[in-house]
């Protein structure tokens, strides 16, 4: 009996290291953050008061939240649509044999491996120096409050299309080729084959990709932070930057933490909803 007990304890030691780091980085800060969200703590002083749901009330009445919401939704929708449409298109187009096809794939994937900081910095100069030279426009997308989110979204599309492409490409390899053959014999054209075979059988890849980009889009912080720091003014501030600004430079940690929790619930609900929507459309074959 004691030997069995000892062995169970030994088995448990296998998960202790992971559990320790996980608790230190995720579990403990999460609950500490929930506690902070109900206070008026500025993030520095030793003392603070519990204010109940006051932060939540402030959050839902803050009209300055509307702009970050608009920017975040724009970014999430724009990047999800274009990354997936272009990625899928390239995956289908490159799913044939011709000289250099693998080279083209590795070129298109290349932006994915460099850091986002470098990508955003390079594009800042493409917008401000190169585009005016080529197209004879002035200012650039990032300098104008009405086009800045478009400019930031394009950087993200350029960097991440390669990832969508390789995921859809791997998905295409799982579709049995004889399906296309019999469809062709039955007289189905390439559009019919794409919409009746490729799209339904790629559903597992959609279930992965679309919630992934909606989720990362809704929590987007890095691209606007590096490309514009939220500017001009606050015109490219996203929800995640709103959280950051209140927690750090504005010294309103309690309020910022409540905003962070609400952002989490919002992303969780949207992601679960979208994932279920696509999972229901997956087919067995």
């Amino acid at each position: 009996m004691t030997r069995k007990y000892k062995d169970e304890l030994l088995k448990f030691t296998f998960i202790v290291p992971a559990l320790l780091f996980f608790c230190l980085v995720v579990v403990f800060p999460f609950f500490r953050g929930v506690n902070i969200a109900f206070t008026n703590w500025n993030g520095i002083d030793m003392s603070y008061d519990y204010v109940g749901l006051h932060n939540l009330k402030l959050l839902f009445t803050d009209t300055e939240l509307l702009n970050p919401i608009k920017n975040t939704l724009f970014f999430a929708i724009f990047t999800t649509v274009f990354i997936n449409v272009i990625g899928l298109g390239l995956a289908v187009a490159l799913n044939t044999k011709f000289p250099g096809v693998n080279l083209l794939k590795s070129f298109i994937f290349m932006p994915m491996v460099i850091s986002l900081v470098l990508a955003a910095i390079i594009w800042r100069y493409i917008y401000s120096d190169i585009f005016p030279t080529i197209f004879h426009t002035d200012g650039g997308l990032l300098g104008n409050p009405t086009t800045v989110m478009l400019g930031i979204s394009i950087i993200s599309v350029w960097k991440e299309v390669g990832l969508a492409m390789v995921i859809y490409y791997a998905g295409l390899q799982t579709i049995p080729k004889d399906m296309y053959e019999s469809a062709h014999i039955d007289g189905a054209g390439s559009w019919i084959q794409f919409s009746k075979i490729t799209v339904p059988l790629l559903m597992p890849a959609f279930t992965y990709c679309i919630p992934l980009w909606i989720g990362t889009g809704l929590r987007q912080f890095d691209y606007p932070m590096v490309a514009t720091k939220g500017g001009p003014g606050t015109s490219s501030e996203t929800l995640a930057m709103y959280v950051y600004n209140y927690e750090f430079p504005y010294f309103k940690a309690g309020y910022g933490q409540m905003a962070a929790l609400m952002l989490f619930f919002f992303i969780l609900i949207v992601t679960v909803f979208v994932t279920n929507y696509f999972r229901r459309r997956e087919v067995e074959y």
Binding site: F22, F28, L90, V113, Y125, T133
Partner: protein
């Protein structure tokens, strides 16, 4: 690979849409457009400011290598490189060790106790870092882990444990139990069984996790930005971010710094491309 799909397409396209050759040429043009920003970065990094002002796009007549030596000195490049290398190696080793061990026990014990930990780890996959950002910063200040490489390694490992343990569990469930059972019967301890018998069998998933955690640690900006504010522990992305704030007028030197910090990851991409693409698609597509 089966050739039936191209044959179908050629017949189809020759009747209705572009011939195949035009499609291939278009794909080449698209791929070159994707490379265009890299071209700009390289050209900017080897030009003098005067030539940049005259024609931003053209290749320079005289290559200004001095941009590179200036960039190395001004951005403290080798310190940042050292920090990035240490952080990446530390994160990869720690991640592979703790995640494979935990996932092994979770995969082999399908009971309520171990399933609880499985779902606990998995619940963090959806958690945006913004929720942890401020409390983690405070905790790290109290533990004196702020502005240290070990502090950064632990934070980068911790936020990824959920997803990587999930990938490990999925893989280990496909590894047959017979080998380890006979090893246990021969009297090998649980640790010995794991490290000398199971771990070598995990090679495919280990290389996936290696690639994903190395790329994640090397390129990380958000977590690093919260944990590190001082130069001594700054990694390459942080130094780049700072550098471009300070040297906006000397863009040629700043672009030389960009190219320098791109070289290690590009070499890695050149040699490990198969594993990188295999790694990023690992969680996405079944079978």
């Amino acid at each position: 690979m089966n050739t039936s799909v191209p044959i179908v397409r050629v017949k189809e396209t020759s009747k209705r849409r572009f011939p195949k050759l035009i499609r291939i040429i278009m794909l080449y043009i698209i791929a070159i457009l994707f490379l265009f920003p890299f071209y700009i970065a390289i050209v900017y990094s080897i030009k003098t400011p005067i030539e940049t002002a005259q024609s931003p796009l053209a290749f320079p007549t005289h290559i200004a290598w001095s941009n590179y030596s200036d960039a190395i000195a001004a951005s403290n490049f080798f310190l940042a490189l050292r920090n990035s290398v240490l952080t990446t190696i530390g994160t990869v080793l720690l991640t592979i060790t703790v995640c494979s061990m935990a996932a092994y026990m979770i995969a082999r014990n399908n009971n309520r106790f171990y399933n609880f930990f499985y779902y606990l780890f998995m619940s963090s996959i959806m958690l945006p870092f913004q929720v942890l950002m401020f409390p983690l910063y405070k905790t790290w200040t109290e533990l004196h882990l702020l502005n240290t490489i070990p502090g950064l390694i632990i934070a980068l490992t911790g936020v990824q444990i959920g997803y990587f343990a999930f990938l490990y569990v999925g893989f280990i469930k496909t590894v047959p139990r017979e080998l380890e059972e006979s090893a246990m019967l021969d009297g090998a301890s649980r640790y010995r069984t794991f490290f000398s018998i199971i771990f070598p069998l995990l090679k495919p998933i280990n290389s996936t996790i290696l690639v994903l955690s190395a790329l994640g640690a090397w390129n990380d900006f958000v977590v690093s930005m919260i944990i590190v504010q001082k130069k001594e522990a700054s990694t390459l992305p942080l130094v780049q971010f700072q550098f471009f704030g300070e040297y906006t007028s000397e863009i040629n030197m700043a672009f030389a710094a960009i190219i320098l910090s791109m070289i290690p990851i590009m070499v890695f991409y050149l040699f490990a491309q198969k594993y990188i693409i295999g790694g990023v698609t690992a969680g996405a597509v079944k079978g």
